[in-house]
């Protein structure tokens, strides 16, 4: 049977243009009708280091970057020596034979070498070192029997009209690679269902978050650069004028969230983004948003901790930082989107929830989800906008009850500029009108009532938010539990297990807070065997589940080495557990 899926790894150093080559290949595949999933493993260094990107493409929905690659494109000797020997039998290695030495003794049996004489192939087009990537791309598309037109179209769209010389040079070297491959090597037996009319966008999670925000009417975005949230800032800044979004890079994350609160208070849908260390700086103001009942959306994309930790590596280690953010008890909603597509919809949903409940909504992503690329099929900009309760003048100027005690805790808000509805929003606790009860007007009874009012929002929100559903057969041998970015690898695991005769289902916790304790308890107490899969040291979700349901998940697969889960790893552990 011909292969319908291929895994390509590109390995080199920072500065070698790996990400853009990976992206080009992903787009070529997408324009050929394939689904794609790509992950880039890099370090906190601008030049050098060991970077590798893995793209997986095929004609069915792809849930991860895959395990062992079918092809390696090695961009330097170090990487050839690092990745080459591990390449599985039946795979192939493309490399610049001018600079890199590989021979059959260095690789496993049946690993095919594809040496590319880069200098000869690219001499006509100038001496740009990243040309080697494009040559290899050309050669690879030939070996995969892809339509070269797609390569041409991607190169054109990448470099745009203004750079005709660059476009031509790139097409030239790609063609040279393609032709060289065609005259030297056989194509492999790879024939997915190509479809040159369907092209799915290839998005990262951060790009989906940005688009989701724009769709939801986000009018303000603020950030201080921080991996892996920075690309939201980049998208927003680039589309500020086009989408009518005020985008402000601030001096630190403290000002970022406070500014976002100011924008939210003034009536704009407002969002900000950061990672763990920046979120730590924001925590004080999270409580401010809650007590002033100001809607804001905060994206925090996790990376390897503690502290600066592994700034370019993935981790799901900030769950309790987010849950515990800021002093005191206050209402907030925390959502962990699970896929790139979900990043889009969860972001749009976050804006609605923030305004409907007038509170901070925190979206938790992680480096893997924020930065990996995926083809997405289903993006609809018509996301529905619900701004919640906005007051209308009550003719009672100066006596507006901004914090009126209501059944569900939500009170109509007025926006600066509205006639007759002036009020002061205060971080000190206050009564219905906003007058402080922390000072001379101290009042224990009012304090209890206003706390209860704010916290009631959580009960009502919990009722509104859909409880988690078990994916897969209810009576499966094993229940996989996860949150955030592990969704995909767990989906894939369940499929692989099924092929191995083990039934699995999957509980994905999307609403981290408020927590659907009853639904989760019900699902888990009916589970035969449970495996919790998390990208952190301590099993933070498992702790939360125990806190909220009392259920202790004994079996966990925890990963905190900075790399995402690979399907094989999860499958292996799940098989163990299922058979235990």
């Amino acid at each position: 049977m011909p292969k319908t899926e291929v895994v390509v790894r590109i390995a080199g150093a920072a500065g070698d243009g790996i990400a853009s080559t990976g992206e080009s290949f992903a787009r070529v595949a997408s324009r050929s009708g394939l689904h794609v999933f790509a992950y880039n493993s890099y370090q906190s260094v601008i030049r050098g280091g060991f970077v590798w990107l893995q793209v997986r493409a095929g004609d069915k929905k792809i849930y991860s970057q895959g395990d062992e690659p079918d092809f390696l494109i090695a961009l330097n000797q170090d990487e050839a020596s690092r990745h080459g020997p591990a390449m599985p039998s039946g795979s192939g290695i493309f490399y610049n034979s001018d600079k890199i030495k590989i021979d059959n003794s260095m690789v496993k049996e049946r690993v095919k070498l594809y040496p590319l004489p880069i200098k000869d192939l690219s001499v006509k087009y100038g001496q740009n070192p990243v040309m080697q990537n494009t040559v290899a791309l050309g050669a690879l598309t030939k070996i995969l029997m892809m339509n070269f037109d797609m390569v041409v179209s991607v190169i054109k769209d990448t470099f745009g009209d203004k750079n005709k010389a660059i476009v031509d040079a790139n097409i030239g070297v790609a063609q040279a690679g393609y032709d060289y491959a065609s005259s030297h090597w056989e194509s492999i037996n790879f024939s997915p269902k190509y479809d040159y009319d369907s092209r799915r966008p290839v998005l990262t999670g951060n790009q989906a978050i940005s688009l989701g925000a724009a769709a939801a009417g986000c009018k303000f975005y603020s950030a201080y650069p921080m991996t892996p949230a920075t690309s939201i800032l980049h998208w927003m800044a680039a589309h500020s004028e086009k989408c009518g979004i005020v985008v402000k890079q601030m001096e630190d994350e403290i000002s970022v969230l406070n500014m976002t609160i100011g924008a939210g208070f003034a009536g704009a849908r407002a969002m900000c983004g950061t990672s763990g260390g920046g979120f730590a700086l924001m925590t004080e103001a999270v409580g401010l948003a809650a007590i002033t009942e100001t809607p804001v959306v905060i994206v925090t994309s996790q990376r390897g901790g503690p502290s600066t930790g592994l700034p370019t590596k993935t981790e799901q280690g900030d769950l309790f930082q987010v849950l515990g953010a800021s002093q005191g008890d206050y209402p907030k909603i925390v959502i962990a989107p699970s896929t790139v597509e979900d990043c889009f919809y969860a972001t749009a949903e976050a804006f609605n929830l923030a305004e409907r409940y007038q509170l901070p909504v925190i979206l938790m992503s992680d480096l893997y989800l924020s930065e990996h690329m995926e083809t997405v099929s289903n993006i609809n900009f018509n996301v529905g906008i619900d701004r919640g309760l906005i007051a209308t003048s009550n003719g009672n100027d100066g006596h507006f009850k901004r914090y009126a005690f209501t059944e569900n805790g939500v009170s109509p808000r007025s926006l600066p500029g509205m006639e007759g509805l002036t009020h002061v929003a205060a971080s000190d606790d206050h009564d219905e009108t906003g007058a402080l009860i922390s000072d001379a007007l101290t009042n224990e009874e009012t304090r209890v009532r206003i706390m209860d009012k704010r916290m009631r929002k959580m009960q009502y929100a919990l009722k509104e938010l859909p409880p988690p559903k078990l994916l897969g057969p209810p009576d499966a041998d094993i229940t996989l539990v996860g949150w955030g970015s592990t969704y995909s690898v767990l989906r894939e695991t369940a499929d692989v297990l099924a092929k191995n005769g083990v039934t699995a289902n999957h509980l994905q916790i999307r609403y981290i807070w408020p927590f659907h304790d009853e639904a989760v308890e019900k699902i888990l107490s009916n589970a035969k065997r449970i495996l919790d899969v998390e990208g952190n040291y301590s099993g933070q979700l498992a702790k939360l589940i125990r806190m909220e349901t009392g259920i202790k998940i004994e079996r966990k697969l925890l990963k905190y080495d900075g790399e995402p889960f690979y399907p094989n790893q999860v499958v292996k552990k799940a098989m163990e557990v299922a058979k235990a």
Binding site: S30, R31, D157, R199, P201, V202, L211, A214, A215, A216, G217, K219, F220, S222, S240, E241, C243, G244, I245, V246, V247, K248, M250, E251, D252, I254, S255, V256, N258, M259, I261, G262, A263, G264, F265, A266, G267, A268, R269, A285, L288, T292, I379, F381, N382, I385, R387, G398, P416, G417, M418, T422, H423, V424, A425, A426, S427, G434, A435, L436
Partner: protein, 287 residues
């Protein structure tokens, strides 16, 4: 000229009798009345401190945020609704201590807001510790042997950092204070009004009396408010003579006027969401 009572509320100011901040409250109310700005169109933002309680004592929209972070909140509001008159009011600890970074960056950005600092050279609400403007040698609860660092000079910092309007006022000279606030609000761009506003409870050194002996008005002195070098020189005066008035004023495009996201007007008035066509265009970038 509107009636000052338009800007009053029932809630009584909780400051100690004699606190300099009363004059600042009145000064803001007078300035708004003089400029005929509707209370609905004013947003007064503060942090935490005795002085930062001010928004609660004034009829307008108010945001009484957390300690040191008034400026980011204010500029966030201003950026999405540049039609608002945004005033930031707070203390020396709030603004020149914990919040100094935001102040400095707001000045170089030249947001069109007015920043009024009730500078009492002490931490009032926390009962009397040294602040960034407490003079060298002064004893306080946190410096019982005397402060051993130079104070912040807000005027010279503002001057070198790009504030486009820099003035000082004194709570003991209420009409002049109101005038400074009025000029500050009228100024298009970042305006700083540093108000010497005595804390009668915890600062026993920089009293009304102490100031009265030293204070003079720059305008009585032929000071040229367009000359930065002169302004910087004047900013060093303190011990023997203390100038109040406008040190410096200049024109520079405001941040809001250059912000690309505001090209179509205040974003709070724009329709929400993305049309299907624009959405398609945005997605195409990724195909």
């Amino acid at each position: 000229m509107r009636d000052v009572s338009m800007y009053k509320v029932e809630t009584k100011a909780t400051w100690c009798p004699g606190c300099g901040d009363f004059a600042v409250l009145r000064g803001i109310q007078m300035a708004l009345a003089a400029l005929e700005i509707n209370p609905n169109d004013v947003l007064v933002v503060s942090g935490i401190g005795c002085s930062s309680n001010l928004p609660g004592f004034l009829k307008s929209y108010g945001f009484h945020g957390i300690h040191g972070r008034a400026i980011p909140v204010a500029t966030g509001a201003k950026l999405v609704n540049p039609d608002l008159n945004v005033i930031v009011a707070g203390g020396d600890g709030d603004g020149y201590g914990i919040g100094l970074n935001h102040w400095v960056h707001a000045m170089r950005r030249n947001f069109d807001i007015t920043y009024i600092v009730m500078n009492n050279q002490i931490y009032g609400l926390t009962t009397g510790q040294a602040s960034p403007t407490t003079e060298k040698g002064q004893r306080s609860k946190s410096t019982p042997a005397g402060v051993i660092e130079l104070p912040i000079n807000p005027i010279s910092m503002a001057l070198v950092t790009g504030s486009t309007f820099v003035a000082r006022a004194f709570s003991g000279d209420a009409d002049h204070l109101a005038k400074m606030v009025e000029l500050g609000i009228k100024h298009k761009g970042f305006s700083l009004v540093d108000v010497l506003s005595p804390c009668v409870t915890y600062n026993k050194h920089n009293t009304y009396q102490w100031f009265r002996e030293r204070i003079y008005r720059l305008e009585d002195n032929g000071h040229n408010t367009k000359n930065l070098d002169d302004a910087i020189k004047k900013s060093y005066e303190w011990d023997a003579k203390i100038p109040i008035g406008v040190f410096y004023e200049t024109d520079r495009t405001t941040y809001e006027d250059e912000e690309p996201g505001l090209k179509r007007g205040p974003v709070v008035s724009q329709p929400l969401g993305i049309s299907q066509e624009l959405g398609k265009e945005l997605l195409e970038e990724f195909e």
